[in-house]
Structures are given as C-alpha cells and as structure tokens.
Amino acid sequence: MIFFINSIAAYSSALFRELSLILTIMPAFLGLISFFLSSNSQRKRVLLTGSFFHFLITLLILSSIFYSGGLDGGQKTSLLIESFSGNAENAVFLFIVSVLFCGASWYGYWYLKLEEKTQREDEEGFILNDEPEAVFVAFMLLFLSSMTLVCFSAHMGLLWASIEATTLFSAPLIYFHRSRRSLEATWKYLVVCSVGIAIALLGTFFLSLASHKSGGSLYLKDLLSCSMYDLLWIKLSFIFLFVGYGTKMGLAPLHTWLPDAHSEAPSVVSALLSGALLNCAFLGIWKTNEIAVRAGIGDFSSSILTAFGMLTIFVSAVFILNQSEYKRALAYSSVENMGVMSLLLGFASRGDNGIYKLIFLNALGHSFIKSAMFFTAGMILMYYKTKKFFQVSNMAERSPFAASLWFAGFILLAGAPPSPLFFPKFFILKFSFMSGSYFSAFLLIFLFSLIFAGFARIFVSMVFSQNAEDERIREEKLILAPSWIFFAAASLLFFAFFYFSRGA
C-alpha cells in the first residue's frame, strides 16, 4: 500500500505543473459549459463532478508536495506559467478550498433541489424568484477556479489578480435570492472590496519599486531571495497591501461588508465565503508578511498585525453582544477568527516559527466549523423562515437533528477543547502573558468571555423552548451530512494536533 502511494506521489510530482494547471482551468471550463447545458439537474451533476475531480487532483498535488520534501517543500514552478508555486501554506489553503467546495457542492446540490419545491417569500413579502441556476452553478465553479489560482500564484501581481477575480465571481452568488437586501449586500461587497483591492494593486506596484535595485521582479522567489530593499518603499508597500487584503479578509475597520454579505447570501455561498475566501485573503497577507520579515522589518509588520488583530476581536465582541440575527452572529465570529489569525501571524513574525502549525490549525479548524455552521443555519432558515434568533425556539423538540448540530457547532466555535480553536486561543493567552503585556492578556480574556456570552445568548435561546407550539418539523438528514463530517474532522484535528505536539 505504501509503495502504491509513493509511486503516485512520484508520478504526480513530475507532473506538478500540468496538474496544477488542470486544477485551475478545469472548474472554469466546466462553469462555462454549464451555461449552455439545458436542464438544471445536469448542471447540478456537473457541479458535483467538478468538485469531486478538483478534490481528487488536490490530493494528488498534496501527495506530490509531501513526496518532494515535506510540508515546507522546495519551490516548484510550473513549466507553462512559472508563477505557480507549491509550498506549505499554499498546500494547506488549497486543501481547505477543495474540501470545503466538495461539502458546499453536496449541500448545494440538495439545496437547489429543495429550492425549486418551496416557494419562499422574502421578509417584506415579495415573492422570491431565484437567479437562474445556470448563473449560480457557473459562477460557483468560476469562484472555485479563482480560489485555486490564488493558492497557486507565486507572483504578487497574479496573486492580486486572482483575489480580485474571487471578488468578482462571488458577487453574483451573493445576489442569488434576488431580494432587495441581498442586492444591497452585493453592491456594498463589490464597492468596498474592489476599492480595497485597488489599494492592494498600488501596494504591489510599491513592492516592485522597493525591489527596484534587483530588477523589480514580482516573483515570490526573487522577492524572498533578494537582500537590499529600499526601506521606506517596503514599509509603504506592506501598509497598502495589508489594508488591501485586510479589507478582503475582514479585519476591524475594513470588515463592514462581511456581516451584510454573509447574512444575505445563501448559506452555501456564505459557507464558502467565510470558509475559503477569507483564507485566500489571509494567504495574501501571509505572503506580504513573509516578504516584510525577509526584508528585516519583521517587528514593524508584527506590531501592525497584532494591533489590527486586537481591534478586530474587540469590534467583533462588541457587535456579537447585541446581535439579533444568527447568520450575522456567525459572520462576526468569522471576523473574530480572522482577528485571532492576524494576532497569531503577528506573534509568529516575532521569530517563533512553531506558531505556523498553529495558524494552519486555526485556518483548518475555523473553515470546517464555520462552513458546517452555515450549512446548518441554511437549514434552520428553511425550517423556521426567519433570520431573527428570538423568533426561532424549541429547536430541541421540533428539529432535534439540526439542534444537535447547532449546539455542537456552538461548543466547537466557543473554543472548548474538543475544538481545534482551543490551541491557538491557549497560545495567544500564553504568549501575551509570557511577553509581559498583562493588560492585553486580560483584555483578551474579557473580550473572549464577551463573545462566549453573546454566542450563548443566541444559541441557547434558539435550541431551548420559549413556549412555542411543538409540532415536529420533517427534517432533511442527508443534506446536513457534510456538517457532521466537518465537525468530526475538526475534533479529529484537535486530537491529532494534541498527539503530535506530545513529541515536541
């Protein structure tokens, strides 16, 4: 069996370039085809097959990266487009994108089936006619290909272009339900993100200016290898890139689009948005931070990252407390987790590289849990037809399957040990206590407890009864299969990480 895997890995590492190319082009191609397909059911099958193949190829690539030299393996540039690279963080984020997309397409497949049957009207009572399914499936696949491109790009310009592409492809997806509120959310999402991304473009140009002396090329391997940088320009470029990708990632003052987009988009899309898209934006910041550390302004970038991380956690705590819609609460918890990730990155660039594993763990854990929660939220929205949490009650008796998922998600989100989010939280408190900044440590404890209390208020009042009438809702168990799988994977992550850390 081992021999069999080794041979596949060897074979695939040789074909790394071709495989990576196929991986990005194939979903885009399928998306275009699905425009012209006649029947909806065919389109949905295309979506499923597309995501399955994508997952298969990702596994192949991952094995090749493992084979070619462990997780932080050597640079591999593809023949056709030498801007493709396959080091550690790309592999992890690629894996997240493809696994999440599989779950989303499975959920989407059934969701669209149910959509046709139930005619839902919007809060204001307009009959809700959905976007033609063709548009939805096509843009979903295009969205997938743009995210894969992000994970592969080794050239800062290409990275920028692919992140911009993800914004553009995801905008129509948010507008799937065609209600006034989702239109407004799409418009805000488009304007805020494209302005942010434009600033990131400016940052990329500053970056090339900074490395002007050594040929100004924007390839990652050149940027990381060249030594003399123009200090002022590299700082300016870091700031612009940080603000640009920060808007896309949802850091504190720039996060305004996130709650609107996530609460108005259909749950399939918001799962992908908060699970995969935020990670791609984080990848952008990760790369800029890596360049900044190589250029010797590590503490400059880490102070910015930590400051923004703390601000983000503060803002998310403040907004979760008075939240009245459960989908927006989930969006703010994504904002909070992004704050945690940027805090971790800030600590990482202070030199201790053991933290990279923690960042991967947080990214993986958060994406799995958050997307599973959005799937469940979608089903709850379908059963109870309201977004307000106080109008949903007595889920424990009326829809026990969804209630158990919902509460399990709450436990995992809160960072209680079976959830992988425990270790990053443990580390942040440890690092801030050890590095002597007691004030920020106690502030963190206060904020985390506020967030926990805010979540408890929302989830508990939904699951347990408020004198609601008790007719049982016919539950769809199959559609929520990915949620259970993702929750199981997340807690498996916890035990795996715990077991591996024993060695250290």
Binding site: I81, S83, H155, G157, L158, W160, A161, S162, E164, A165, T167, L168, A171, P172, Y175, R180, R181, L183, E184, A185, T186, W187, K188, L190, V191, S194, V195, A198, L201, L202, F205, S208, L209, H212, G216, L218, L232, W233, L236, P259, D260, S263, E264, F319, N322, S324
Partner: protein
C-alpha cells in the same frame, strides 16, 4: 515625443478638476473616458522603442476605456432621465477647494517619496491626484453610477502610476490585471442595472437597510 507625453500628463491633471467639479453622472462618465484614453496612451508615447506587445495592449485598453464603458454607463443613465442633471452634491467653491487640496497633497507626497526613476516629470503627482480624486468621488457622491466612475478614476490613477514606474512585467500578469479591472467595471454595471430595476432609481441612499440595530 517628450512634449506630447508632458501635455498628456497635464491633461490628466485637469481632467481631475472637471471630474470633481461636474455634477451630472453623464459628464462624469465622459471625463472618466477621456482620462482613461489619455492614461492608456501614456506608455505608448513615453517609451522610445516600439514594442509590439505593449502597443497592442494599449490599443485594446483605449478601446475599452474610451468607447465600451461610456456606452454601457450612458445607456443606464439615459434610462432614468430625471437624474441626468441633478443638483451637484456640493457647490463649485467646495469642489475647487477639494481639487487644490488634492493637488497639493499629491505634490507633497511625490516630493517626499524621493524618486530616482527616469520617469516623466509630473507623472507621479498626476497618478496620486487621480487616485485621491477617485477615492473622493466614491466617498462624496451618492449616485451608484458616479461611484463606478470614481472607481474607474481610481484605476486610471493606479494604472498611470504603474505604467510610469516599471516597464516590463510578464504578459500574463499584465493581461490578468487589466482583465480584472474591466470585469469589475462590467459586474458593477450589471449590479447597477439590477439596482435600477429593483429600486427604480440609482441613488445609493436607498441602499441603507442593512445596519446594526
């Protein structure tokens, strides 16, 4: 060659003045188109030797910015006629003041960031000015179409800065960046079309339902 590109840069700076001053979305779109064409023409003229690849690029950019987008946006503006000559958001004096402040800000910024590239004399302040006026347009104007125009002005600025500062980038990346900008404008156009159909006017004040209670 040099003098012409110098004039183009000055023209770009003045375009910003007209942009900040004009109040009707149709005029905004017109001046953005002019500015787009001018900035696209810059690399053609400034670079001495003639490259086949760069010039082909510039031509298609000119085509898109000069003709295709004004066409789309004007079609939207024509549909709801009553907004074509709406009262400007603020009086002329303020727009002049804004223009001057943006001008001095960009000149101070470019002087402070010591440049030693051999680029044209005034191109860096011009690009900064365009960027800032693009941002101002988005922030101060309330019509959705003017926000798109603001975004395009922002892109013109960045493009102008990019073309001035560094020359050769791999073709694929250049193409990807330009493609993204145009797809962005195209998708925004589609969004405005839906907004216009849904809210039957393109004022973004209506779009403020999603807020924290």
């Amino acid at each position: 060659m040099e003098i012409i590109s110098q004039f183009i840069v000055l023209a770009v700076i003045f375009c910003n003045f007209f942009l900040l001053y004009s109040y009707s979305p149709s005029e905004l779109v017109k001046f953005t188109a002019i500015q787009g064409v001018l900035t696209a023409a810059l690399p053609l003229l400034s670079s001495s030797e003639f490259e086949y690849q760069a010039s082909a690029f510039a031509i298609c950019v000119i085509f898109l910015k000069g003709f295709f987008f004004p066409l789309v946006l004007n079609r939207i503006i024509k549909k709801n006629v009553q907004y074509s000559n709406g009262k400007p958001h603020y009086s002329g004096a303020i727009s002049a003041l804004l223009y001057l402040s943006v001008f001095f800000l960009s000149v101070w910024l470019s002087a402070r960031l010591a440049f030693e590239t051999k680029a044209l004399a005034w191109i860096i302040p011009a690009s900064f000015m365009t960027i800032f006026s693009g941002l101002l347009l988005i922030i101060l104007r309330s019509q959705t179409v003017s926000q798109i125009a603001g975004y395009m002005v922002l892109e013109n600025g960045i493009y102008c800065f990019g073309s001035a500062v560094f020359v050769n980038q791999p073709l694929m990346v250049e193409a990807a960046i330009l493609l993204d900008i145009f797809v962005a404008v195209f998708v925004m156009g589609m969004a405005v079309f839906h907004i216009e159909r849904e809210f039957d006017d393109i004022d973004s004040e209506k779009l403020s339902e999603l807020k924290e209670v």
